[in-house]
């Protein structure tokens, strides 16, 4: 069975849980930016948790089904329509052969996950079906979808039910306003003054329109002031530059000291910008659901809080599994 792409949306890509293990040689993790929502979509349609789905950002695609199927859309409030009739998000529903799945305007969040029973069956590249568009690797021909593409779909599990729903408290979406992203200061934190460090956590930032799968850029906070230094070999004279180093997933670089960028699933793995710290793993999914101009605060945490948050996120996933399997 196949799905015909009538309209691709803005940047719809095939994603699974990603491609860990190659970041040290420059190939990023890739995979869904909101992994919790991706897993939920798969479980709703009876797939393995890490089956390949479509990640649609800000705008849904228009898809024609060539066979009967069961689908579920999770993540952002990107209201699905089947032959123009509204359907619910976070709920599995049947699609008949020849029907067209389209979407209304985005209401909330940023990325919708479209799971189809059987999963999107593109070739596995380095252990994953995820698209890394910048490297033309994986996914559907290494790129975002285009009109006219035909997506292969795998065989659905025998017992796929429609009308299954993920309860509100298991969706793991951001609730606080402004959204709070917990950060462990570190890496090159010593490069900025104490006052600048306090401002970084006190200011309210806004998601910049440039934010994408590579990195989420924020603006609107005060520029960081640097501690004077003698530039080390290879760092150059800009105080925000360092001798080239590895960039962790979730690390926050601040080129020129002005606009922090949180590196996400398709990030480059190294370079010469200093980093003030790292967004904790438990909050990385939330970033994937931030629209441009959303107000955000960075909240300082230590290792104990980061580990507790990771445990609580894992427990949420456990409850989701229990509810759906």
């Amino acid at each position: 069975m196949a799905i015909k792409v009538l309209k691709p949306g803005l940047a719809t890509t095939v994603q699974d849980l990603g491609r860990p293990g190659y970041y040290h040689i420059g190939i990023p993790l890739s995979g869904g930016m909101d992994r919790h929502a991706l897993v939920a979509a798969n479980l709703l349609v009876g797939n393995e948790e890490g089956a390949a789905v479509l990640e649609a950002v800000f705008m849904g695609p228009e898809l024609e089904f060539t066979e009967d199927a069961t689908v579920a859309i999770t993540g952002a409030q990107l209201p699905p329509k089947l032959d123009g009739e509204p359907r619910e998000t976070w709920t599995s529903f049947k699609v008949k052969r020849g029907q067209v799945l389209s979407f209304d305007f985005l209401k909330q969040g940023a990325r919708g996950y479209i799971a189809i029973a059987g999963g999107i069956d593109v070739p596995v590249v380095l252990g994953s079906r995820s698209t890394y568009a910048l490297g033309a690797l994986g996914g559907f021909k290494g790129r975002k979808l285009e009109a006219g593409d035909e997506l292969p779909v795998g065989k659905a599990a025998a017992s796929v039910k429609d009308g299954r729903v993920v309860a509100n408290d298991l969706r793991g979406l951001p609730t606080a306003m402004p959204t709070e992203l917990r950060v462990m200061p570190g890496l090159y934190w010593h490069r900025i003054t104490e006052a600048a460090g306090n401002d970084f956590f006190a200011d309210t930032w806004k998601v910049a329109p440039e934010a994408d799968r590579i990195g989420y850029r924020f603006k609107g906070g005060k520029a960081l002031q640097f501690v004077p230094r003698e530039p080390p070999f290879g760092a150059g004279s800009d105080p925000s530059n360092i001798t080239d180093a590895c960039y962790p997933y979730g690390s926050i670089q601040v080129p020129g000291g002005t606009e922090p960028i949180v590196l996400h699933r398709d990030a480059v793995s190294g370079g010469g910008y200093f980093m003030v710290g790292t967004v904790i793993s438990a909050d990385m999914d939330l970033i994937g659901q931030l629209q441009p101009n959303t107000p955000v605060r960075f909240v300082k945490v230590g290792m104990d809080q980061a580990l507790a948050a990771r445990k609580s996120r894992a427990e949420l996933l456990g409850k989701l599994r229990n509810a759906l399997t």
């Binding site: 803005l10 800000f58 705008m59 985005l106 940023a110 329109p209 441009p292």
Partner: protein, 80 residues
């Protein structure tokens, strides 16, 4: 004559001009055709054209140049 609204398909920054030194695509009172571009939405380092999607006369723009807009936000009113 009925009034219709043109909605932003995306969240981002709305521009009424193709480039800072160019005139606006359309102005209040202009007649537009279905496939005419009335503005751009900047998001994820790309500029996406907003089409009129209908034929008629623009009554007025509801969003300012360089305004941050949400998906589904009305950006112009059009008499069809």
């Amino acid at each position: 004559m009925t009034t219709q609204q043109i909605f932003s398909p995306l969240p981002g920054i709305f521009y009424r001009r193709p480039a800072p030194d160019k005139p606006a695509y359309k102005n209040d009172g202009d007649v537009v055709a279905d496939s005419d571009t009335i503005g751009l939405i900047e998001v994820m380092k790309s500029f996406n054209e907003v089409k009129a999607g209908t034929t008629g006369k623009i009554l007025r723009f509801l969003a300012e140049n360089e305004e941050a807009v949400m998906a589904g936000q009305p950006i112009a009113e059009i008499d069809v």
